[in-house]
Amino acid sequence: MTRDLTPATPPALEMRGITKRYPGVIANDHIDLDVRRGEIHALLGENGAGKTTLMNVLYGLARPDEGQILLDGKPVTIASPADAIARGITMVHQHFMLVPVLTVADNVILGAETMSNRVFVDRREANRRIAELAARFGFELDPEAKVASLSVGQQQRVEILKALYRDAQILVLDEPTAVLTPQETEEVFALLRRLADDGRSIIFISHKLYEVLEVADRITVIRRGRVIGERLPSATTEGELAELMVGRAVELTADRGVSHVAEPMLLVEKLRVTDDRRHEVVPEATFQIHAGEILGIAGVAGNGQDELVEAIIGLRKPGGGKVTLGGRDVTGFSPRRMNEAGTGYVPGDRHRFGLILQFPIYDNLVLTSYYRRPFARGILRNDRAIQSSAAEQVDKYDIRTPGVGAATATLSGGNQQKVIVAREFDRPLKLLVLDQPTRGLDVGSIEFIHRQIIAKRDAGTAVLLVSAELDEVMEMSDRIAVMYRGRIVAELDGRTASKSEVGLYMATGGHDSEAVAASAADEGKKA
């Protein structure tokens, strides 16, 4: 969508020649960015491209080494976030900064309280302003609801409301759709358009190409700390943007090819799982995956996917039910026994379960096999075998590092994930369990990891893919199971399922069956 923009008026925000150096890297190298009034300006770039640094400079969290910031044509110095807020700039972080036990209204006014007489908060005035803003921009929020009881999408709206309450003229949204269902994403986009129509400027940070094309008025692409190009959505394509972002042509959709489904490999029957607080988060899960098949589990994060995966992989004792792998009962196996039975696992939280960041790469590559030959004889480690195997894997999986002895923390997120992939994929597998395998990664790494997954499937591995990125599930899966409140509420064919159909199951659990049917019909009409 394009809107009539008048370039004659000075831009609401202009950043000129912003340069920020950190020891060893130039995070921002003379970046120019201008954002007009009433414009949704997308900032597109891979992780580590310098988007976050640029926004930290704008928000007063980092001081630029060179460059200038102009607001409405006037140069300003932004020394702190408080300074930024006072000048009408606010940031909506990916991780919300809300107090869960307080109400929506409390969270909105927190830190910007209107005092009736220096001592007491003027609640009446606050509520009046919140109600006015909500009505004007079409928020559907109960100001008296506790934030803890809200959905993720609603919490995000509270964050935006907070910004508006502070009379923000420039809103920065950092990956706002990462945690939302497709329907919630649509709602946020509609809201952003209403804000832009009201004359506010929005900087929309993302690495999802189609979203940027859909919502932005202008797109600036950043790579390695530099502005690579500026495009109008009407005059560009996803392919071109991806190429600008990565610096080479990228295959955007994994060519999953045809799966050659064989006998059932993993059988999960009536599996019951409780979480750390002993709440039953998975009351009953039953499904199967065949050899050479990818089963994708779609669902809004926090619907029991993590616990289900942990119960299968042995990190969590199941409360009941049965797991069979290749005809063998593996219920309640420890992680090591599961590993030895032929299971690979890419954890959702790679810094927690996947890696020991302080350790060198070669130690992380043997995290699950350090005790076996050839890496150990008795209790003696065989360093030569560990290091030479690491050197091979670093080459084979294209892990970019100065050496196998480098601490894993020094690698980029994509390369860290490749260390896990190398460790878990590089042997014959019966089952591969992937929990958010590409979360937070750059396009190049995603492409690489997707290809490895498909190669594993084609080699006859049963693959369980859990992802909050619906696109990833849609693109990769031969079959899609939707998880809602710990139950699998639908199983769909990966080739014919529509995004809105899956999205509705994700949002309602299929209770709103009419809506599901309607959306399916709708999708049919479009096709």
Binding site: Y22, P23, G24, V25, A27, T52, T53, N56, L61, A62, H93, Q94, H95, D174, L315, S334, P335, R336, N339, Y345, P347, H351, R352, F353, G354, L355, I356, L357, Q358, F359, P360, D363, L367, T368, Y370, Y371, A376, I379, L380, R381, D383, Q387, A391, V394, D395, D398, R400, T401, P402, G403, V404, G405, A406, A407, A409, T410
Partner: protein
């Protein structure tokens, strides 16, 4: 494709070694500076000196160094360093596993009790060749038990080892008192006191000078053994992994609870060995009130060494040298020997500040919205990895 570089240049190796030493060296230098200012401020109290006598701190430090720079001074350094190194290894191995062993005091005392018990029981009949190894082993094992208990409590109920080891210290001080005045007491002595190990074929042989006993070599041998255990065996890998990231260790198939118990027992064993060596090599006899500060000094040693076994050796020698020079300083310069305690405390203070700073930086590093240019904690790991090569 060859982006691999397994060989580092000499320059890089030296650079990283310097980085490794920078923090402890800075802490030590700052401590000397603060100590010097302290001496300066109070120099009027030392007979024969005017207030704010610039010469006094210089004299004092010169005497401190002079006290070490002689054959006897060096021997004394080694003797003082022996228990510091052994117990320092015990604290360091705990740190590696993410455990903070403050129970060194109790474990040290149990080591002395264990060694004395063996000496009392068999020393008179068996010869030194049997008694000494058995006494050392018993000391280590009894110290190990004193580490095992808090380890077990942590593994089974999650009770924090800092709390349980401190509580256990008090209990073990009184257990020691009971042992000295009861089962280990010399019969028919006017007041409770144990026998002298010299009369029980249990004193460690003197190998260097007047008092350089076998314990020195036990400590020096323990350093490479501990290094080998930590960096060349699967057990060491498990200990370090569990300390660095318990969740990842669990996923890697390691039994983290067993590791806690094992590491605490090992830490107790080392501190117990320190106690046994000190008793058999230096003190020879225990009377009521027998106590030690080694358990706490060992924490300074381990922090100064950044938990690296080889670093422990040098840190132990450094603090040992300060102890050895302290008496000479008192005699020659008139500055109280207790200054060394103050210096050690200041070193510890600076080190803890740095540890805290790193810890906080690492925590804020997890927050994705703030830019953290480099993870300070990673330097340790890189050097760790390099040290292992």
């Amino acid at each position: 494709m060859s982006h691999l570089r397994s060989q580092r240049t000499a320059g890089e190796a030296i650079g990283s070694s310097l980085k490794l030493l920078a923090e402890p060296a800075a802490a030590f230098a700052l401590a000397l500076l603060v100590g010097g200012i302290g001496i300066l401020l109070f120099s009027g109290l030392v007979p024969g000196h005017k207030p704010f006598d610039i010469g006094l701190p210089i004299d004092a430090y010169a005497a401190l160094i002079g006290g070490v720079a002689s054959f006897d001074g060096l021997t004394a350094t080694l003797v003082y360093a022996t228990p510091l190194v052994l117990a320092g290894l015990g604290v360091a191995v705990g740190f590696k596993a993410g455990l903070f062993n403050i129970g060194g005091r109790g474990q040290f005392l149990m080591g002395a009790v264990g060694a004395m018990a063996v000496a009392t029981a068999i020393g008179a009949q068996a010869g030194a060749w049997v008694t000494i190894p058995l006494a050392l082993l018993a000391g280590g094992l009894l110290g190990g038990v004193a580490g095992f208990v808090p380890g077990l409590l942590k593994a089974t109920s999650g009770a924090h080892e800092v709390v349980t080891t401190i509580m256990l210290n008090y209990i073990l001080v009184f257990v020691t008192y009971w042992a000295i005045s009861g089962p280990l007491a010399l019969p028919r002595a006017p007041q409770p006191i144990t026998a002298d190990t010299g009369n029980l074929h249990a004193s460690l042989p003197i190998l260097i000078g007047r008092d350089g006993n076998l314990g020195i070599f036990i400590a020096l041998a323990a350093v490479p053994i501990m290094w080998f255990l930590l960096y060349r065996t699967t057990i060491g890998f498990e200990i370090r992994a569990a300390g660095a990231n318990p969740d990842a260790a669990r996923y890697g198939g390691m039994k983290t609870r067993q590791l806690i118990v094992m590491t605490m027992s090992l830490a107790g064993f080392m501190c117990g060995l320190a106690g046994a060596v000190t008793l058999l090599g230096v003190v020879h006899q225990m009377a009521p009130g027998y106590d030690t500060t080694i358990g706490f000094d060992a924490i300074t040693v381990a922090l100064l060494a950044r938990s690296n076994p080889i670093g422990v050796c040098f840190a132990g020698l450094l603090l040992g040298a300060m102890r050895a020079g302290a008496q000479v300083m008192q005699i020659r310069a008139g500055v109280p020997a207790e200054l060394v305690d103050a210096l050690q405390a200041i070193i510890l203070l600076f080190l803890v500040i740095n540890v805290l700073r790193r810890f906080l930086a690492r925590r804020s590093g997890r927050r994705p919205s703030l830019p953290v240019p480099a993870l300070p904690g990673t330097v340790d790991a890189t050097l760790d990895a390099e040290a292992a090569q």
